[in-house]
Subunit: 369 residues, 4 copies
């Protein structure tokens, strides 16, 4: 959950827990589908569980926060894929099918959908787990009931009609977790703070300034690594795999004493929990941004070029249900397949398919004092 423990201190569960949980749910889902007569071989069972076990293995430190900061233009899915390839070599091709499922190239589409889709085992696990550890009880979903209602029709994973209320509840829980936890304004602000620390450190590294870091972290600070580099140089993936939160945390504590004022200020902000102040709104906040900017510039405290580290705006959006991308099909008793947003009397109406955009401003408190 990245930086969510800054708001919900209990949320210290790890990616290992989540991966094991999702693998467990995959096992249950496959058993249920087989009992309903869906043809799944033993080998496919193992492969689908390998695929979900490893689906997040490409995540770097602090999860999504640093996804595009440590290395540019490489998604965690691409890195997961590369690590799976490496493991596949190591284990004489035993992950061939798992990789094919992960990449959505395996003929039985529904196996990939169990790994990655609106109703995948990933979401089934993390919504309940994050709800449990954060104490936001409203994120609880009836994952066991949804699993029982899954079936395969037209080659894809669908939900039996009598599971419709459970799916509605799942979508609503996800909506709630987004606005209340994942996009909580303090969570968002802390994430931005960590990103800015990394960006500043990279700026300094480019200028040849000395920065404390573990050798692996140093490599990604001082080199500009792109997706192409990962492919051409085997060593880069090795180094990436050595990184975890400890590399970043240990450096931040050291950088708090760095001579660069911006870097040390940002690092002290996180160590002292003196986080950005965040304003969130459904309307653009340009006017307030300008006012704050002028006020801060007038105060003369901050050099103009350092400005973006102390005051910035942005926006984030989330749709409750995207009827094209998310497409959850319900298998009606009549045998018909219907997108849940088209089912009569459903909660998930077309109006919910429009994404909601929220605008934010973040600024350092010392800017205005």
């Amino acid at each position: 959950m990245g930086t969510a423990h800054f708001v919900y201190p209990g949320a210290v569960h790890t990616r290992l827990h989540h991966s094991l949980g999702a693998t467990h749910l995959m096992g249950q889902a496959l058993t249920i589908l087989r009992k309903k007569g869906v043809a799944i071989t033993d080998e496919e069972c193992v492969a689908a569980q390998q695929a979900i076990l490893l689906h997040d293995i490409g995540h770097g430190p602090f999860s999504h926060a640093l996804e595009h900061t440590i290395a540019t233009g490489v998604t965690h899915e691409e890195i997961s894929h590369k690590i799976m390839e490496r493991l596949n070599d190591l284990y004489d091709g035993k992950l061939e099918t798992a990789i094919s499922i992960f990449d959505n190239k395996y003929p039985k589409d529904f196996l990939h959908q169990l790994v990655s889709s609106q109703l995948d085992m990933d979401r089934m696990d993390y919504l309940n787990r994050d709800s449990f550890y954060s104490g936001v009880s409203e994120g609880v979903i009836g994952y066991d009931r949804i699993l029982q209602m899954l079936t395969v029709s037209g080659g894809g994973v669908v939900v039996e009609e009598k599971g419709i209320h459970s799916v509605e509840k799942f979508i609503v829980a996800r909506r709630l977790m987004y606005w209340q936890v994942y996009l909580h304004k303090t969570v968002l602000g802390t994430e931005q703070l960590i990103i800015n620390i990394l960006l500043r450190a990279k700026q300094l590294a480019q200028q040849g300034k000395e920065l404390f870091a573990t050798p692996a972290f140093r490599f990604f600070l001082y080199e500009q690594i792109s997706a192409a580099d990962f492919s051409s140089d085997r060593k880069i993936l090795d180094l990436f795999c050595l990184l975890d939160d400890a590399d970043i945390s240990a450096s931040i504590k050291v950088w708090a004493l760095h001579e660069d004022e911006v870097l040390s200020t940002l690092c002290n902000m996180i160590l002292d929990r003196n986080l950005y102040k965040v304003k969130l709104s459904t309307q653009p906040l340009e006017e307030e941004y300008e006012q704050l900017k002028n006020k801060a510039l007038a105060s003369g405290k901050i050099k103009e070029e350092d400005f973006p580290f102390y005051l910035f705006s942005g926006s984030t959006s989330n749709s409750t249900y995207n009827k094209d991308d998310d497409r959850i099909n319900i298998l009606m008793k009549s045998g018909e397949l219907v997108n849940i947003s088209n089912v009569d009397n459903a909660l998930i109406t077309p109006s919910l398919t429009v994404p909601v955009r929220k605008y934010y401003i973040c600024y350092s408190r010392h800017l205005l004092n």
Copy 2:
């Protein structure tokens, strides 16, 4: 939960649990409102807790199922009111304010709303309690967070803007519990079975037939009691208060051997868990009803006059959110009060305010064999 334990065997919690729970939540809600500066006297605190503690005391055996069968045209609220009056006499007027709050005659409207409204302590307690004991985890609501978000504005209970997702979740949980638990087809069918047993017993009593019953239950079987009788004859309320599920259960076991075939058949159906078969549909089921009726009549097994006890149809409806009756007002950060169905980007759109009607047929399995 009436007959819900026929489907969810764990659902054996009692009205006492619920009343104590709702009283506990009322105490919490009042403390929160006072902290926010809402003027509530100590006397009003006690009275609001008395009112919620006693709000359901007028329920007869098997809850809603027999509400209009044991006595005609008297609601459980009216009986609660009468019992509260009786207690008020007994305790020298100490429930005066509680009764006034219960009857919605007390000047501070919001106190009545905490006892009875869309966001009352009754629902806050029963949704979570029923969810817990039935094992339908999806009914869980974040009651503690909703309580924290309550405030009073314009004289009424409203919810602060940042509580909006919790309220959405609450409405969705209620919707789910309705369709999945309270109106579950087996629950509905069992309820109808108990009602029919009582109706048949009353028919026989009117014809002067002898029926085993406790004296109190006998009174309500052989006399036709209306709301007016409760007022004119003090003794009737005394007798009503003696009734509980045990009176009905003990009689049903004896009636299973009664010479009247309809009565004994219905009683044996419930004792042997040979319940009505129930069909539920969003479309009227007239055609199927006619087919079943003709088939059954043709078989000659059943006398035409006994028919309605073995095959009948009906309908039930529930709206996710009734924007007039349910009216949940959100206090926006701007200070404006907005009905939740009119809030931008809310889940509770006007389309959800139309009630959903479901049609059902119930019939005894032996009818067609």
Copy 3:
């Protein structure tokens, strides 16, 4: 849990829940034993589950409280046995093996031990269930871990050495539940009150006095039924099976208005929750008993012959671990079998095998006012 809900209002779970739970645990235990190589046929699996499902079916109303009051000298195990025989006839001998296991006549002793012994599935279920519903969290046992540690050695169920702390914890939890819940002084007093109501009603019935009761309950009130009668007259078991708590509750409400003062007083005591005052001590309470008796007799309020219904003493005992009867064998890593009370450094020392006796006085509060 008989009358425990008078102290722990949540304790309203039913014998059905317990029987299903114990059957579920039996299934798990058998699976675990089979995985360890213990020879158990499919037929034995079904039979052991039937035996545990039905092990308590002979319990009459209010559980242990009325065990020897409704019928004299018949244990609930004997009645369970008789009902199982009846079901065996009905299902063409399909319960033959189950009955043999239940009666401890089946060659594989360990199957009976899973149904009835210190570590049986009965205790595994009820300790956790009663702990959960009463809210006495300290009764929680690690049943899943104990099940994992079970094995068969020397023909009997034993526990692997590494499960020893879990078994200690189980014995301590049982000890705690006994003194804190099952033998809680108010629970004990309420049980005695119900017994006395039944005893008084039977006295009156013997004298030919009229008493309201369902036909089945009337039979056991007016006739003196012994174990022999159950065997000679098939009808008696039929009548016994018709009884449940509702028969007793419905009668108690009617008897509260009976002309016999003792009966009506006792019934009103339970309806008004004006229970016996109970004193519990590790020392005999004869002196206090005599003082109370003299004081009450002097007051002249009560006829001497009615006395035992209003003031009486008794004792109850429970041993934490009875090393002969309870015998829990631990399979040491060395292969040796050792009674847990003889294991080095174990918590369960021989001193704990001496039963603790507690003495009590119960008396009606009105006796002394």
Copy 4:
């Protein structure tokens, strides 16, 4: 919980959680004692909560594991004391009373006992918390009931007689958690592995070898710091406070490539989860130790001086109840104070006061292959 998550992956809760939880329980305990008439001023309430909030603040990385390795001869209590002194200066003496309570110099002894004694808020919190997060449900204690039973007598914290079974259960839960979690053989082995890594790193540092480390960690590696140094040099505490698990983890990952074979081997063992093999026994394991040693020496794989890092033995002990140190006094109904091990029929008999010693051998698996 130090290294417990190597066995119980869920056990990732933090010292912050524990400190907040213990502070919460302290608040409850003080409220209960005040309601019973124990004189406690508002200032003492705040101070006792400050003392428990900060009681563990002197713990370094990996909790107890590295307590005497990072700095020699300084307990975490001494460091907690020093940090509290520092905070006291910072906040103008506002922690004066808290420090006096923490140091057991405050006249009201019972306040210190709530912070540190057999029944302190520390244990009340960590037993339940560790039980919850590790999933070892048997560690659950009825902390709420124990708190309700606390009172003060003879100047000390005591437990009312009716709480005796809850205290027995608490002692048994603690015993179980020790043997099953805190001293679990894999937990113990992992702890020894981390200690050995640190010891080896310090050896190399003493020899002037270069080791990657954060500046703060480097200081404690290259300098030999004693309790006296903490007092004479203010800066040392500042550096100690900068240390957390991340400093150690980040170094271990780098050291896995160090040229020193012992250091890199040990670091790779923990990174690859190729932990020591551990044998635990109630008997000394000298013979097995000698056999293993000879076998390993014969293989010639390991230099004799590196030996202690790959094979070593030791012992650990724990007493269920130490009747002198642990002294839990029960306030009998008679008014008498009795040590729980002297209460009649108690579970906690004098025989349980003898500590149990367990012997262990740890060795690296590669030693023998």
